[in-house]
Amino acid sequence: MSIFIDKNSKVIVQGITGAEGSYHTDRMHRYGTNLVGGVTPGKGGQRTPQGLPVFDTVREAVDATGATHTCIFVPPPFAADALYEAYDAGITFAACITEGVPVHETLKVVGATPGMRIIGPNCPGLASPGKSLVGIMPGHVFKEGRVGVVSRSGTLTYEVVDLLTRAGLGQSTCVGVGGDPVIGTNFVECLREFKNDPQTEAVVLCGEIGGSDEEEAAAFIAQHMPDLPIVAFIGGRNAPPGKSLGHAGAIISGRFGTPESKIAAFEAAGVPVAGRPSEIPGLLAERLAAVATR
């Protein structure tokens, strides 16, 4: 098992003929994702180099392929529209890779699409190694296994996954939730899924400064999954307050969003916080060993 996506998830790509869309369609296809087609208005009837059918609308794509999952690569002005279109056509899972979606459009689309799981926007997507990869993550760093990974970052996640894989710790599902202030799926929602996933026996959580997602995750862990081996990492410990470093969401404002608050919350929940990414595999192995001997 895995969370959100598996071998059978039928995935379409919105913006499949665009530069990013076609590049990553090819990579997902080669990874083994069950891609069934894509959408570019006006290009319906064409085929991609991988032989995937292109449709004019998501509804046509869903009707023809039975797709349930979508991966969105359209430019920022069209991202919310793409999500509404997917929702209306009955899609139940959408990874929105697009960076730069106006936050009030994300607010509205997230509120208006109950029942559709949205990852992102401004996220690298997710991967269930050996089963499916939806988004832009580099497939070769993954290894199938029992560690769930959830992260607000993109490249840092690959770094962490790479370290886990090199340490022999394979992954169940790895989710990049996105770096924007408002995102469709947060840490707690991923943790809830991991809790119910039999494949996932441990979790790595890569947070960063800004917001209170990490604090809420810590509270959730303390209450609902105190015994699962979990290790956290907080990026941006050396960031100054008042200025977001890259991610719009990574900002310490006033007394909110500081690394100290997040680290304290995790420690109170019994979750060790790695000082650097390279410490994560060791800390996790310790926690796994402790559970095994209990």
């Binding site: 936050v103 009030h104 832009i136 840092l156 770096g179 947060n186 410990r237 890259g246």
Partner: protein, 389 residues
């Protein structure tokens, strides 16, 4: 993009939120000319993004042309005093000359985004005119919130409920729902992240009026409003943001620090972790720099020059983990950039992995650059070199 008071009030006007009569003035001469024709006492307010204008003596009363001119000169003579977040203060480029209000009560009303609830949230308090964080500390019970369901949007009962729950003076009740509605309208129409009226004044003659205006627009939404381009270019970017814009990276993507290890990574999370890694290795970073996706030669060269020419970097640590960014392209970019740049050369430490990493490393080796294997190794090597240099 944070707006200046006069810009925020312009948006308030468009949304039907009452604001004092006012005139934006660029010079003391403009102030004098305006007051020449306008009898009575007016308020002259420095237009800056920093808080604490009153305490800094940047808000003053004036009556008549001569007085207005001297008050304006006084205010503009010196920048806002520095604080921790604005270590070089803020120059005063313009003034707002505003109707003097006889204020009876001051309340607070704002809309922000609640990240956890994923909803816009109204925040209202019967205590206005002071920092809301201070109100939260001293009168936490006075702060009431309302999380708006965006599928329904604003309806006047929300304003009524807020006014009653916050215990606003009855003088506010009649107009508050329309003002809150205007604020909500503005929030979505212009794509704001924060809209704040502090204080929302109840005047002696019974008017409810926005005495100050704080509006933070979402940079990502600006493309829908070309009308704000002029404001954007007039806004005080800080020096780091100006440098970032000049190098063609996002204004959030670059920030300088006092250390000697220059850093660059792809992705904000990795860039932050790279800074942290340098700190862990005992070094001090010279900058935060997210090169973004698609790091071609031009972009890598711009970033290299940005760091070499504007920070105290003695070494440049490039940390690339490929997802969208392809290792071979970055490697070519680095090689080309170093051939093309006219800036002085400092040692490079290159960590390159992820998509097309073998090809990237081959390209680097062919150009006699030796990539390191891990981020920690790279950080240690960079710190070592920064001490040697």
């Amino acid at each position: 993009m944070n707006l200046l008071e006069f810009q925020g009030k312009e948006l308030f006007k468009r949304a039907g939120i009452p604001v004092p009569r006012s005139q934006h003035a660029l010079t003391p001469h403009d102030v004098a000319a305006f007051l020449e024709a306008q009898p009575g006492e007016w308020v002259v307010k420095a237009q800056v993004l920093m808080g604490g204008r009153g305490k800094a003596g940047k808000i003053k009363m004036a009556e008549g042309a001569a007085h207005g001119r001297s008050v304006a000169e006084e205010i503009m003579a010196s920048p806002m005093p520095p604080n921790r977040q604005n270590p070089s203060g803020e120059p005063i480029k313009s003034l707002l000359v505003e109707e003097r209000l006889e204020i009876d009560k001051e309340a607070y009303c704002a809309i922000a985004i609640d990240r956890a609830a994923r909803r816009p949230v109204f925040i209202v308090s019967r205590f206005g005119g002071m920092d809301i964080e201070d109100v939260a500390e001293h009168h936490p019970e006075s702060i009431v919130k309302f999380f708006v369901d965006t599928t329904i949007g604003y309806s006047p009962y929300i304003g009524r409920e807020l006014a009653f729950r916050a215990g606003l003076d009855p003088g506010y009740r009649k107009t508050f729902p329309a003002i809150a509605g205007g604020l909500y309208d503005l929030f979505f129409r212009y794509g704001a992240k924060l809209v704040e009226i502090n204080p929302l004044a109840l005047t002696a003659d019974g008017r409810v009026i926005a005495s100050d205006a704080k509006v933070e627009l979402d940079d990502d939404a600006l493309f829908r409003h070309s009308e704000f381009e002029a404001w954007r270019s007039a806004l005080p970017l800080d020096e780091d943001e100006l440098l970032a814009a000049g190098a063609g990276v996002g204004i959030r993507n670059f920030r300088r620090f006092p250390g000697t290890v220059g850093t660059m990574a792809n992705g904000a999370g990795l860039a932050m972790a790279t800074m942290d890694a340098v700190a862990n290795a005992g070094g001090a970073v010279a900058d935060f720099l997210d090169v973004g996706g698609g790091a071609n030669a031009q972009r890598v060269r711009n970033c290299y020059e940005l760091v070499v020419n504007n920070t105290g970097a003695k070494v440049f640590f490039i940390n690339i983990f490929g997802g969208i960014t392809r290792g071979d392209e970055v490697a070519r970019g680095i090689v080309d950039a170093m051939q093309q740049t006219a800036s002085r050369k400092i040692p490079l430490v290159i960590r390159l992995t992820g998509t097309n990493e073998e090809e990237g490393r081959r390209i680097l080796r062919e150009a006699a650059m030796t990539p390191v294997e891990t981020m920690d190794e790279g950080a240690r090597e960079a710190v070592r070199l920064s001490r040697e240099a």
